[in-house]
């Protein structure tokens, strides 16, 4: 089991680290890079924020991710203006129509406009992503800090707990939690939060442990009372960064999980237009009205893609900062 802890700790570092696209100035093969050459000028190493901004600009994928998420947020906020119809307005004579100029994405089995439902569904997805990840991060920070700060037996137990939870399939865990609480959108949010906190706890714990080491070394080296707030100011930003990256990617995972749970009937209840429940409905009518399953799916994928791209881009930028 000691090995498991060891292995899991390595995995934790690797999974966050290895989502990265890798260093792109060095090669296995021998590609020659073609870049514009700058004019000769005095080289002053740029400050960190400028490096980050430059890198972000060059990273087209991250920009795309940011754009997608912005569209999502925009859609969520202004859903009332974007959606041509209400998400619950039923129009039975027009049910299960294929996409047309009246109904861009077609209608579902109750005659509701799928496009409108998807637009309103953006709100639900956003809510799920932000709230569940927020709670997750909070739990993770609390437990991670306690574990790292107090150390000892408490730390050992918590680490074992984290290892077991990490290895346990998240779908099943959240399924169980929702089954206990009762199916609804809020219970899904809670279930997701309770399933995903482990990665943040480990990150924070790791950061605090290394901070403990550095603090200790600094204090023993210093000749006078060293202001620990300075250290906190220096090290805390470094500690937050991997959490920000993980949280961005985590929001994508949260949306996927919500979709899965709703698909299993455990999530948002009708008539709420959660994309996952739309998929669940769509499944029944898959063969006669496939669009009711295709479009919510695409919406979900694009959204999750957006979060993933953004998270990847953030990590690429942050890598420079960490390396310095």
């Amino acid at each position: 089991m000691l090995m498991l802890t060891h292995v899991s700790a390595i995995i934790n570092l690797f999974i966050v680290k290895y989502y990265s696209e890798g260093v792109d100035t060095k090669n296995i093969g021998r590609k020659k890079k073609k870049l514009k050459s700058n004019r000769e000028k005095q080289y002053i190493p740029r400050n960190k924020s400028r490096i980050m901004f430059l890198k972000f600009k060059k990273n087209k994928m991250a920009i795309i991710g940011l754009v997608i998420i912005s569209i999502l947020i925009f859609t969520g906020i202004f859903a009332d203006f974007i959606a041509p119809q209400s998400y619950r307005e039923q129009n039975l004579p027009l049910k299960s129509q294929s996409p047309s100029s009246n109904f861009w994405f077609g209608t579902d089995e109750f005659g509701r406009c799928i496009f409108s439902r998807i637009v309103y569904g953006a709100r639900i997805s956003l809510k799920v992503a932000i709230v569940s990840t927020g709670i997750s991060v909070l739990i993770g920070i609390i437990i991670g800090s306690i574990s790292a700060y107090y150390g000892g037996f408490l730390d050992q137990i918590l680490v074992v707990l984290m290892d077991v939870m990490w290895a346990f399939p998240t779908i099943l865990l959240s399924l169980i939690i929702v089954a206990i609480i009762g199916a609804s959108l809020n219970s899904v949010i809670i279930a997701i939060a309770l399933s995903y906190w482990v990665q943040y706890a480990r990150l924070i714990r790791g950061q605090i442990l290394s901070l403990k080491n550095e603090l200790y070394i600094e204090v023993t080296r210093s000749l006078g009372a060293n202001d620990s707030t300075i250290l906190w100011k220096h090290l805390l930003p470094n500690a937050i960064i991997p959490v920000v990256v993980a949280a961005t990617l985590g929001m994508g995972s949260a949306i996927v999980l919500e979709a899965t749970l709703s698909f299993l009937g455990m999530g948002a209840q009708p008539p709420m237009p959660s994309w996952g429940s739309m998929l669940s409905n769509g499944r029944t009518y898959l063969f006669i009205a496939p669009w009711s399953a295709i479009f919510p799916g695409i919406a979900t994928i694009i959204t999750v893609l957006g979060f993933n791209l953004l998270g990847d881009g953030l990590r690429d930028i942050m890598d420079i900062k960490i390396k310095e």
Partner: protein, 296 residues
């Protein structure tokens, strides 16, 4: 060390389910049944005793191999588990192999041809694999290959053809993460000092890649794979539902809906056991792959 963890998990499993509001017995009774009938059923299932007693009895039984009787079906839990297990195992193993082979191939190719079209396409595919909900992928594959093309059956089990779509769905989704990690791992190893020394020996590029870069890159990949077992089991749940395959996943989901405690507890225990075994295997493989770990 595994045993205390196992016991801890069993306690948690047992407790959680008993915190759920609602008594399983109520599912079996017709509404409006007399109270005595309810009392009798409660007594029969031992649900009237104090919790810790119930737990001890249950745990003792578990170690004897008696996992109880399903409340909703007239079979022992062990029977049910043994019946459904093989299907899930087959699905799990095949999809694991698919994701492993596809993922490593894609990741290695992307790494070797870094920053070329091959790399970009590969990583886009991998990214999609990570972003797509597994069940949606299953639905779409079903739509294309079963409904429109008619190559594979929509549901069912038992033969190879019915295994293809479910296994590929799970396999493709899993390949994404493996591809990304493989690529990143190989790129990182390629920077290492010892790779330069190996090249300085005058070894051909393909040998350098296969014998040294890939071999070292495998180490973190293996540890990742070990933990994927849990993911595969979770994925099997939804896939079994989408494709109507009987298996452990569907059994668990159904028993959750029906509040069939013994079955829920039995399946969860089995799952935790499987996850632990998987981790153990991963640890062993990891020690095999990395000599530095072996002698600790």
């Amino acid at each position: 060390m595994m045993i205390p963890v196992f016991i801890l998990c069993s306690i948690v499993i047992f407790l959680i389910l008993h915190l759920v509001p609602g008594n399983p017995v109520d599912n079996l009774l017709h509404p409006g049944s007399p109270l005595e009938a309810r009392e009798q059923l409660i007594k029969e299932f031992g649900l009237d005793r104090p919790i810790y007693q119930q737990y001890i009895i249950w745990l003792a039984n578990v170690f004897k191999g008696n996992l109880g009787v399903s409340i909703t079906e007239q079979r022992t839990v062990s029977e049910l588990l043994l019946l459904k297990l093989p299907n899930t195992v087959v699905l799990g193993v095949v999809s694991f192999l698919i994701s492993f082979i596809l993922g490593i191939f894609l990741g290695a190719l992307s790494a070797i041809k870094q920053n070329t079209i091959v790399d970009y396409i590969g990583m886009v595919l991998a990214l999609l694999g990570v972003s797509v909900p597994t069940f949606w992928l299953g639905l779409m594959l079903m739509l294309i290959f079963s409904v429109n093309l008619g190559w594979f059956p929509i549901s069912g089990y038992g033969d190879l053809k019915s295994l293809v779509l479910p296994a590929f769905t799970l396999g493709l989704a899993g390949a994404g993460l493996i591809a990304r990690v493989t690529r990143a791992s190989m790129l990182e190893i390629a920077q290492k000092d010892y790779i330069a020394i190996v090249r300085a020996k005058g070894i051909s590029n393909s040998q350098v890649i296969i014998k040294h870069i890939f071999r070292n890159a495998l180490i973190p990949i293996i540890t990742l794979l070990g933990l994927r077992l849990g993911w595969i089991i979770g994925g099997a749940v939804t896939i079994e539902i989408v494709f109507n395959r009987p298996g452990l996943g569907r059994l668990l989901a159904n028993s959750l809906f029906r509040r069939d405690y013994p079955v829920i507890q039995g399946s969860l225990l089995l799952l935790i056991f499987a996850v632990m075994v998987g981790n153990l295997i991963a640890d062993i493989l990891y020690a095999y792959a990395d000599p530095r770990i072996r002698y600790n």
